[in-house]
């Protein structure tokens, strides 16, 4: 039974990966491919922040440089396959994420040692500096980074593995499914190694680690390399998916995305960043079809999670799971329901307010148009609805908090 428990999540996720193409179609597949990239990226980020306690603002440097390594390798495969000789002629595109891994790990190996002396603010600042340096530095070497437009390539070259010619997004899906499963498994296995355990210990009490003979700097450095490598692997997946790498993939914005996904999902739990990556990617790609304020909503969700749910979405899932095991679901369900209602009311109020402001300042509003609603920002009616929703949400919230105090 316990063996089954340990394997169940892997078996279930494998089954989901195998069945997913049967139930999705067309454009959804390309969103899923992006989700796969982001899952690996967010998990690699959490190796630093969640497992090792190192807040990084330059993680995209490894993602982007790994991406560039992979795209140049892809071009090399194309050239060598045309000539028919050389090492690259026998290198399948399928294995390109490994090139990305090597690229990211190598960069981390070269720059990492001076960075890992301290965690905390110093580490945050020095990685911010690295991220900005790499992002501005790319503009100076157009032959390597392709200037503003980036580097193009073609993934349908070289030896074909598993019959995947990678012509269609559906082909790319199997490539993504393999690599996301392998990478998640590898990163989970990493948390079980002595090094993974040591990184948790360094996060919690570096002085004590030094005292018992494990210099925190060495542990941080090794984790930094592993994490940089995994970010590079995600970059390699991105290179195959998009067939183009632009300097944007190294920017502060991309680093922020990793942080956003990991924190929204939950830093303390292994699968947290996976949940975060799925949610944030879906929000980013779907919301922009319906509203112009998509980025604002993602930011607000992030802020709300940091303020009110520090353990993230995965923390909420764990909470429910524990209640399930403790047979407390019946007792807690009314409070959950009230909490959900209150959050829904508050969200609706916020969305309505944001879209009204949008209507006022820009004249039109995409969300109202999509829903076929006739919004009039100059009349007091919608604003009254905002206030009513806010009051309802806040009232329900107070009630829930009161009942929580009463029971505990």
């Amino acid at each position: 039974m316990t063996v089954f428990r340990a394997f169940a999540p892997w078996v279930i996720s494998l089954a989901v990966l195998l069945l997913l193409p049967a139930v999705t179609s067309g454009s959804a597949v390309s969103v899923i491919n992006v989700i796969a990239i982001h899952i690996v990226f967010a998990l690699s980020y959490n190796m630093l922040l969640g497992q090792g306690g190192m807040l990084s603002f330059g993680h995209a440097a490894f993602f982007g440089l790994g991406s560039y390594a992979a795209i140049h390798a892809m071009n090399a495969i194309g050239d060598a396959a045309y000539a028919g000789t050389g090492f690259w002629a026998h290198f399948p595109v399928f294995l390109l994420p490994l090139v990305g891994f090597a690229g990211g790990a190598l960069v981390a190996l070269v720059v990492g040692w001076p960075f890992c002396r301290r965690a905390g603010t110093a580490f945050a600042m020095i990685t911010l500096g690295l991220g900005e340096l790499v992002a501005t530095g790319t503009q100076m070497f157009p032959s390597v980074f392709g200037g503003e437009t980036g580097v193009f390539s073609n993934r349908m070259v070289g030896p074909v593995w598993f019959g995947l010619e990678l012509a269609q997004p559906a082909d790319v899906y199997w490539f993504m499914a393999f690599w996301v499963f392998a990478a998640v498994l590898a990163m989970w296995a990493f948390t079980r190694t002595p090094l993974g355990r040591l990184s948790n210990a360094v996060r919690d009490n570096p002085d004590r680690m030094q005292f018992i003979g494990y210099p925190p700097r060495n542990v941080r450095f090794l984790v930094f390399i592993a994490s940089g490598g995994m970010a590079g692997l995600a970059g390699g997946m991105a290179a195959v998916n998009y067939e183009i790498v632009t300097p944007e993939s190294l920017s502060l914005l991309a680093s922020g995305l990793a942080l956003l996904m990991a924190a929204v999902g939950g830093l303390g739990i292994f699968y947290g960043p996976i949940v975060g990556a799925i949610l944030v990617t879906v929000m980013n790609s779907l919301l922009s079809d319906y509203t112009d304020a998509a980025v604002l909503y993602v930011g607000l969700v992030f802020l709300a999670v940091v303020l009110f749910a520090p353990s993230g979405l995965a923390g909420g899932i764990e909470h429910v799971r524990q209640a399930w095991h403790g047979k407390q679901v019946a007792a807690k369900a009314p409070r959950w329901l009230a909490g959900t209602l209150s959050v829904t009311a508050l969200c609706m109020a916020l969305v309505l307010a944001v879209e009204l402001v949008y209507l006022l300042s820009h004249g039109t509003d995409k969300l109202a148009d999509t829903l076929g609603m006739e919004l009039d920002a100059s009349s007091p009616l919608p604003w009254a609805a905002v206030i009513l929703l806010l009051a309802t949400g806040y009232g329900l919230w107070r009630l829930t908090a009161k009942s929580l105090e009463a029971t505990s």
Binding site: R117, L128, M140, L296, V306
Partner: protein, 313 residues
């Protein structure tokens, strides 16, 4: 040559003083609460946009005073209902909160004012020449900006060193608990300092907006540089932040002004290099945006406490 040096120095000092306005607030907040406020540059942007929006209705000068006050109120609210709440979850949570806040403020500015620059300009009479050197005008507005910055520096020094509130702030920086035990309301003091720091950033936005373009990307361009100033000067050291601001301001303007390439530099030492090569053709001007970050990384590696700081971050 002399002309370039004089004007680069003037512009560099002006840019440095603006940077100092931003970084003084940030470093005050950091030394008091131990939190690096990622949204600090966003408050600078809010200052510029508020001054623009208010200036349309009440004129330039009243807006100059009112906009920083508004930013201060927003800052105080953020501290009271945001930062204080996440404080219990530790420093990482605080950093995450300010990071998210910067994100949201940037998007709100997009929402209210659109994504193209707004035409925030000082009154016409201030565009006139204050003095003319080498045939180039130096506008009254730049002179006034410099005056305001110097005045602010003096006022800040007076406030911190000569007043009772300043004494309480300085005491709370090092012995927060003790100040609390003596019956002062330290959380309220924190809220005040946070609001005041944000107001300084807002003031920098109000007077810097017309000089450096008022657009939604202005926080993102200046934000990381302000961090560099605070780290290079030494976390929590006002005087260090002052020197670091001037240093970075001068460095960046001089790099842009002297359009020499690496090949030219090598030529001075008698080495012949291809002036159009990929590496040797890099100009100092294109290095300018990188210099603050090179400085940041070097300082953190070789002197983590910064130029004048006493504590390592």
């Amino acid at each position: 040559m002399l002309e370039t040096i004089v004007f680069s120095t003037l512009n560099g000092v002006l840019y440095g003083l603006l940077l100092f306005m931003l970084s003084s607030g940030l470093t005050l907040i950091f030394s008091m609460m131990g939190v690096l406020n990622f949204a600090h540059a966003s408050f600078y942007m809010l200052g510029a946009y508020f001054a623009y929006a208010l200036g349309l209705h009440i004129g330039f000068w009243p807006a100059l005073f009112l906009a920083p006050c508004l930013v201060a109120v927003i800052g105080a609210v953020v501290e009271r209902y945001g930062l204080r709440r996440v404080h219990v979850n530790g420093h990482v949570a605080e950093l995450l909160f300010t990071f998210g806040l910067a994100y949201v403020i940037d998007e709100l500015v997009h929402l209210f004012w659109g994504s193209i620059p707004v035409s925030y300009v000082p009154p016409d009479y201030m565009q006139n020449a204050l003095f003319t050197l080498f045939g180039t005008d130096y506008s009254i507005y730049r002179g006034v900006t410099m005056m305001i910055a110097v005045f602010m520096f003096a006022a800040l020094w007076f406030l911190l060193k000569k007043t009772r509130v300043g004494m309480m702030i300085r005491a709370a920086l090092t012995h927060g608990d003790m100040v609390g035990h003596l019956g002062h309301n330290v959380p309220r003091l924190f809220m005040g300092v946070f609001g005041f720091g944000c107001a300084l950033a807002g003031l920098a936005g109000v007077i810097g907006g017309p000089l450096l373009n008022t657009e939604p990307g202005m926080a993102q361009t200046l934000g990381p540089i302000v961090f560099v100033v605070v780290v290079v000067g030494g976390m929590g050291s006002l005087i260090g932040a002052f020197y670091a601001s001037l240093l970075i301001g001068l460095l960046q303007t001089f790099f842009v002004a002297f359009d020499a390439s690496i090949a030219d530099l090598l030529g001075v030492f008698g080495v012949q290099a291809d002036p159009y090569g990929e590496v040797t053709g890099i100009t100092l001007a294109s290095l300018a945006p990188m210099t603050p970050f090179i400085l940041l990384v070097l300082i953190l590696i070789f002197r983590p406490r910064g130029l004048m700081g006493e504590l390592e971050p």
